[in-house]
C-alpha cells in the first residue's frame, strides 16, 4: 500500500534518510521506532508529501507521489488522517468545530449530518463532554484525543500517528493506545505510528520497524522484535528496560 524505494532525504548537507526502503501492507498497524533523529517523523511527512525525497520514490497504491500537486495531491491526502505530535488543533475553534472542520470544508454534508457524525466520533474518543471547549482549556491527553477524532472523522484509509503518547502520563498513554487499537479494529485502516514508547509499539502493532540513522535495520512482528539479536534493537529495548522475560506472561492483546 505504501512503499518507500531507496529514499534519500538530505536537509542541506545533512542526510536524514539514507536509502530508506519499507513496504507497509494494507490494513496493518506498523510502528516506526528509533532514537531521536533516526528519521521517523521525516518518514511520516514523506507519506503525505509534506516533504519530498531528494532521490528515490514514495508510492501510495502504486502512485508515485513525489511530483504530485494541486488536485491529485489533494485526492491522495484525502485518504489520510494525521495525528500530529502537538495535536495541531486550531486554537480559535472549539473541539466540536475542529472535528467538524474537514467535513464542513470538503463534503456537501448538511449541518445535521455533520452534527450526528461529529457527536459519534467524539463519543468514540470519550470527548462528548468537552465538545464546546477550546483546545487551550483542555489537557494534553484530551487534545490528542480531539486530534484523533479529527483525523478519523473523514473515514480515511490510512492513519498516521506522530508520537501519539509523547508528553502524556502512562495511564493516558495506555488510553490512547487502546483508542488506536480500537479504531484500527473498528475501521480496518492501515496505521503508521511513530513512537519512542516501546510499550505502546508492542501493544498496538502488527509489525515494528526499527530505524537507525535513516535506515530500517529490522522489521518484524512484536514478539520477534522482542527476541531480536540485532544489536541496535537490543540496545533500544534495554534502554527502556524492556526485557523479554518480563513480557512472557503478558496478555495476548499486548503481544498480539
Amino acid at each position: 500500500m505504501i512503499k518507500f524505494e531507496n529514499v534519500i532525504k538530505e536537509f542541506g548537507k545533512v542526510p536524514v534518510l539514507r536509502g530508506f526502503n519499507l513496504h507497509i501492507r494494507k490494513g496493518e498497524t506498523i510502528s516506526l521506532v528509533g532514537t531521536s533523529g533516526a528519521g521517523k517523523s521525516v518518514t511520516l511527512k514523506h507519506m503525505v508529501r509534506l516533504l519530498t525525497p531528494t532521490t528515490g520514490d514514495v508510492l501510495i497504491d502504486g502512485t508515485r507521489i513525489n511530483d504530485l500537486n494541486g488536485e491529485e495531491l489533494g485526492k491522495i491526502r484525502s485518504r489520510f488522517g494525521y495525528l500530529f505530535q502537538s495535536a495541531a488543533l486550531l486554537q480559535w475553534l472549539t473541539v466540536y468545530e475542529n472535528v467538524a472542520l474537514p467535513l464542513r470544508e470538503n463534503t456537501r454534508m448538511s449541518e445535521k449530518e455533520i452534527h450526528k457524525k461529529v457527536d459519534a466520533v467524539l463519543q468514540k474518543v470519550g470527548l462528548e463532554d468537552a465538545a464546546e471547549k477550546l483546545p487551550a482549556s483542555i489537557s494534553g491527553g484530551m487534545q490528542k484525543r480531539a486530534g484523533l477524532a479529527r483525523a478519523v472523522v473523514t473515514e480515511p484509509d490510512i492513519l498516521l500517528y506522530d508520537e501519539p503518547t509523547s508528553g502524556l502520563d502512562p495511564v493516558t498513554s495506555r488510553t490512547i493506545d487502546e483508542l488506536i487499537h480500537k479504531l484500527q479494529k473498528d475501521l480496518g485502516v492501515t496505521s503508521v505510528v511513530v513512537t519512542h514508547d516501546m510499550i505502546s509499539a508492542l501493544t498496538i502493532s502488527d509489525r515494528i520497524a526499527m530505524l537507525h540513522q535513516g535506515e530500517v535495520v529490522e522489521v518484524t512482528p512484536p514478539n520477534e522484535f522482542l527476541h531480536s539479536k540485532n544489536e541496535i534493537v537490543r540496545g533500544f529495548l534495554d534502554s527502556q528496560c524492556i526485557h523479554t522475560e518480563f513480557f512472557e506472561d503478558f496478555p495476548e492483546r499486548i503481544l498480539k
Binding site: 536537509f11 548537507k13 489520510f80 470544508e105
Partner: protein, 270 residues
C-alpha cells in the same frame, strides 16, 4: 503548497557568490509573497460563500472597527500638530487663513495613507504575522494542508479582503479627523473662522488628491497583507521565530510602504 521545506544556502567561498545567493533568495521570497497575495485575490469571489462569510466579517471587524481608537487619536493629533507648525510659519506672513488648505492637501495626498498604513502595519500586520507564524510552528498550517483545506483561501483571503476594504475607508476617516484637528487649532489658536478654514480647505484640495490618496491606501493594504502572510508562513524556530517574523513584518512593511508611496507620488504628480 504553503508548508515548505527548509531552505539551505549552499556554502559559498567567494563573497560575490554569497551576495549572489542572497540576491536570488530575496527575489524568491518576493516572488513567493506576491504569489500568495495574488492567489488570495483569485479566491475573493468566494468571500460570500457559507464557509468563508463568517471569517471575512470577523476580519473586517478586526481590521476596521478595532483599529478605530488608535487611528482616531493619531489622526486628530497629526492634524493638530501640522496646523500648529504651519500656522506659526503662515502667521509670520499674515496668512493664517491658509492653514486649512495646507492641512487638507497634505493629509489627502500623503499623510493620510502613510499614517494609516504605518498604524495598520504595526497593529494588524504584526497580528496576522504572529498568528500565522504560531500556526506554522505548531503545524496547524500543515494540518490544514493534509485536510485538503487551502490555507490561502481559509486564512489569507479574508485578511486580504479586510485590508483592501478597510485601508481606503480608514484613510478617509484619518483625513477627515486630521482636517478636524487642524480646524480646532485654526479656530482656537490662530483665530481663523471655521467657515474660512473650510473654504480654504476646499479651495486648494482637488478630487485627484483624494483619489490618489485612496489608491495609495489600497496598495498599502495589499503590501501589508502580502508581507505579513509571507512572514507568517515562513516562520521557523518556535517562539523566537514568531517574534522575528512579527518584527520583520513591521520593518519590511514600513520600508515597502515608504518606497511604494514615493513611486506612486512620482507617477501621479510628476
Amino acid at each position: 503548497m504553503i508548508t515548505r521545506e527548509p531552505y539551505y544556502c549552499p556554502e559559498c567561498t567567494s563573497m560575490f557568490a554569497r551576495w549572489g545567493y542572497k540576491g536570488l533568495s530575496f527575489c524568491q521570497q518576493v516572488g513567493q509573497a506576491l504569489l500568495v497575495a495574488l492567489r488570495a485575490i483569485v479566491y475573493i469571489p468566494l468571500m460570500f460563500s457559507k464557509r468563508n462569510r463568517h471569517e471575512v466579517w470577523y476580519q473586517l471587524f478586526f481590521t476596521g472597527i478595532k483599529s478605530l481608537p488608535v487611528i482616531s487619536v493619531v489622526a486628530l493629533f497629526t492634524g493638530m500638530i501640522f496646523a500648529v507648525q504651519t500656522g506659526i510659519e503662515l502667521a509670520r506672513f499674515g496668512q493664517e487663513v491658509q492653514v486649512g488648505g495646507a492641512v487638507t492637501v497634505v493629509m489627502l495626498r500623503e499623510m493620510g495613507p502613510f499614517m494609516t498604513g504605518l498604524i495598520i502595519a504595526a497593529s494588524v500586520g504584526s497580528s496576522i504575522s504572529a498568528q500565522l507564524g504560531t500556526m506554522t510552528v505548531s503545524e496547524e498550517i500543515a494540518a490544514l494542508e493534509i485536510m485538503s483545506i487551502d490555507p490561502i483561501r481559509f486564512l489569507v483571503m479574508p485578511r486580504m479582503i479586510a485590508l483592501l476594504v478597510m485601508m481606503p475607508l480608514l484613510t478617509l476617516y484619518t483625513d477627515l479627523l486630521a482636517v478636524a484637528g487642524g480646524a480646532i487649532i485654526g479656530v482656537t489658536q490662530l483665530g481663523v473662522e471655521v467657515q474660512a478654514y473650510l473654504d480654504n480647505a476646499v479651495l486648494y484640495a482637488e478630487l485627484k488628491d483624494l483619489y490618489t490618496g485612496l489608491f495609495k491606501a489600497l496598495c498599502f493594504g495589499f503590501i501589508i497583507c502580502a508581507v505579513a502572510c509571507h512572514e507568517g508562513f515562513t516562520t521557523t524556530g518556535g517562539a523566537v521565530g514568531v517574534g522575528k517574523a512579527t518584527r520583520s513584518t513591521v520593518v519590511i512593511s514600513f520600508l515597502v510602504i515608504l518606497v511604494t508611496g514615493f513611486i506612486l507620488t512620482k507617477m501621479f504628480y510628476n
